[in-house]
């Protein structure tokens, strides 16, 4: 009875996996190496940001890039930040990871991100004079850390100012936080100079004449009507709070990915067939049960991949195929143990029970060690390897459960108590009566 239920559950899960793929309910998530697309990793330069604002700035950085990416109609982009500690990379670093599925033109992808302006307002250090700056003077030597950045901007617009020949300017409107900070700073620093930076270069360095409480600022740096319009438009899509620098680029074409998927599926099918065939040949009836357990293992993991969802990569497919080979290990352990119990003269039903009980400590300990490896792999990995580790770890866990529960249920359900020749043939290849 229990066996029938398990079988039905297996078929049910299998159908779910199939159905959800077909109906796009929760289809398999393909990594960039399979779907085609671009991954870009940028280093965020937080050197001009006071420590307390770092987390805020990174969050703003991520949101701005995400908005920018969405604007260009990339489906399901991934934008995330990552902090790398000094112990691993030599120096602590904050990174921005951008994944653009379907964008297979590296140039276009980089241009898409690169159009985002970086906006910074920085106070001139006392005594520093921009007009006397030489080529070797760095910005950080002349200016204090940024007080207002792209994260404080709410919108920008193009205006024309001045009498006679009117000059195009860009008017910035700050959000409430930005307005408060700007009002405060301008109030305290009347007569001093601050610098407005775009993409890291000084656009202008106006003198503060009076406090500006209304949260607007004007940039008037030798714009043409056209360039001012473009800047305003780009600023409206969001400005970056910190400069970013491209560290890593990977683009995979869609055709290469599709080929990998196809090969992966073929390899998986043949791999499963080879394992089941071998198990049947060597263990006969228990081998058949191990085969059923393996199929149930496969549908359960596939359904889990869809539900969690696990991003499938070429390495992930490899891990899955590998896990199929390893999944039967628990069964092999149990069956070998059963045979041994039978050889020592035990009845089949008793041999089944003892076989399971005795094999358990080995199964447990060896799987724990595999899990340790999977966890460390997950930590080691770039996103491709993380896919491998996740699939591998899940595989170890699920296979342990299915091998034990499913095979056990079936073997006991078959209820073989007889000591007939047939029963012995079915169970005990390699043992004598």
């Amino acid at each position: 009875m229990a066996a029938v239920l398990v079988l039905l559950a297996g078929v049910g899960i299998g159908y779910f996996a199939y159905w959800s793929e077909g109906h796009n309910f929760r289809p398999f998530k393909l990594g960039l190496d399979l779907s085609g697309g671009t991954q870009l990793v940028y280093k965020a330069d937080l050197s001009a940001i006071p420590g307390a604002d770092a987390a805020d700035s990174l969050a703003a950085l991520r949101d701005t890039i995400e908005r920018r990416v969405n604007l260009f109609g990339v489906s399901e982009p991934l934008v995330q930040t990552e902090h790398v500690s000094a112990a691993i990379s030599g120096a602590a670093e904050d990174r921005l990871i951008i994944e653009l599925p379907g964008v297979t033109d590296t140039q276009k992808a980089i241009a898409l991100i690169g159009q985002t302006p970086v906006l910074e307002f920085r106070m001139l250090k006392p005594g520093a004079d921009p007009s006397k700056a030489t080529a070797s003077t760095t910005v950080d030597e002349m200016f204090d850390p940024a007080i207002i950045t792209g994260k404080d901007l709410s919108s920008a617009e193009l205006q024309f100012q001045g009498q006679g020949v009117s000059e195009p300017v860009v008017v910035l409107h700050f959000n409430s936080h930005g307005a408060a900070v700007f009002a405060d700073v301008t109030k305290q620093n009347v007569g001093k100079v601050f610098g407005i930076f775009l993409d890291g270069s000084l656009i202008e360095a106006p003198v503060i004449r009076e406090a500006i409480p209304d949260g607007t600022a004007v940039i008037s740096g030798n714009f043409t009507a056209e360039s001012a319009k473009e800047l305003a438009r780009n600023l409206n899509y969001g400005a970056l709070p910190v400069p970013i620098e491209l560290q890593y680029t990977q683009t995979v074409s869609g055709t290469l990915g599709a080929q990998a998927v196809q090969n992966g599926i073929m390899a998986a099918l043949w791999g499963v067939a080879a394992v089941i065939f071998f198990m049947l040949l060597w263990y006969r009836l228990p081998g058949l049960i191990a085969g059923v357990a393996l199929l149930i293992y496969i549908v359960v993991t596939l359904a889990l991949f869809q539900l969690i969802p696990v991003t499938m990569t070429a390495a992930g497919i490899a891990a899955f195929i590998l896990s199929v080979g390893m999944a039967v290990d628990a069964n092999v352990l149990i069956f070998e143990r059963m045979k041994e119990e039978m050889r020592s003269g035990k009845h089949i039903s008793e041999a089944i029970k003892d076989g399971f009980a005795r094999a358990w400590p080995s199964i447990r300990d060896s799987n724990i060690s595999s899990m340790i490896t999977a966890v460390i792999l997950f930590w080691f990995g770039t996103s491709l390897i993380k896919g491998f580790a996740l699939v591998f770890g899940l595989g170890v866990l699920v296979s342990m459960l299915t091998a034990i529960t499913v095979s056990r249920t079936f073997l006991i359900a078959l209820g073989i108590h007889s000591k007939t020749k047939l029963a012995h043939f079915l169970f005990g290849s390699g043992t004598r009566l």
Partner: protein
Amino acid sequence: MIIVKNRILFFCITGVIVLASLISVAVWGLKLSTDFTGGTLVEVTYPNGRPASADLSASLNSAGYSGYSLREAGNKDYILRSSELTPAQRDALSAALSIGSTTVATITQYTQVGPTIGTELRRKAFISISLVLLCILLFIAFAFRKVSQPVSSWVYGVIALITLLHDVAVPVGFFAALGHFAGAEVDTLFVTAILTVLGFSVHDTIVVFDRVRENLAINKEKGRKEPFEDTAGRALNQTFVRSVNTSLTVLFTLLVLFFLGPASTRDFALTLLVGIIAGTYSSIALATPLLVESERWFKQGKK
């Protein structure tokens, strides 16, 4: 058990294998991929057939590229490696790879790794391999903590560790040869393969050790006196079929992966194949014989 009886012979065989691997690494060295060194890796395909390597070089040189290397791949592809390209070089690459209007290049994969990411991955690879080894040592010492006679549980852990070092040495040596003869490069997938081999091999070793543990417990229960050599030998006998069978099922799947799987995981499957054969061999022919040897050593030390 024949292997335990003739363990000196097997130690010699193992020694030769490890020595060969080390020599292979020393002579040929490991080629690190752009993942670790930083730089640019481009896979380019020519749907109408690829041009001769000299023509392609000429086109690249005249466009101002230098310090790159070209390697043929597949039937219509080239793999180009170079130091990091400037944005302008990157954007002009597709045009420089095409010759005239007939041989048009399609870039199928473009990877550019900055120096800090390369350094970081190198460090991470070392840290994670060391971490796996350490965790496994600790775990085995813990899992076998109740077995202290005749050898302490730490010895089991240390022997598992030695076995694992063998399992790392063999595929690394193999890969050095593969790099020399077929241009294979050590990338993050290779490190993944090594870590997986570690996990699998210790799996195998634990199963044998577990049987030793069980046999010792049975002997104690029944008050049976038996030389440790026999107890361990019996455990090896009892688990032999299982070790071979499990490895066989995994090897089947890996062979399938190697022949039918995606091109990007072919070297990976090969590394795993070699590593898992090494792992199965070492857990049978190295781990338990070492255990027996260390027991004799400790016994003599006590006398």
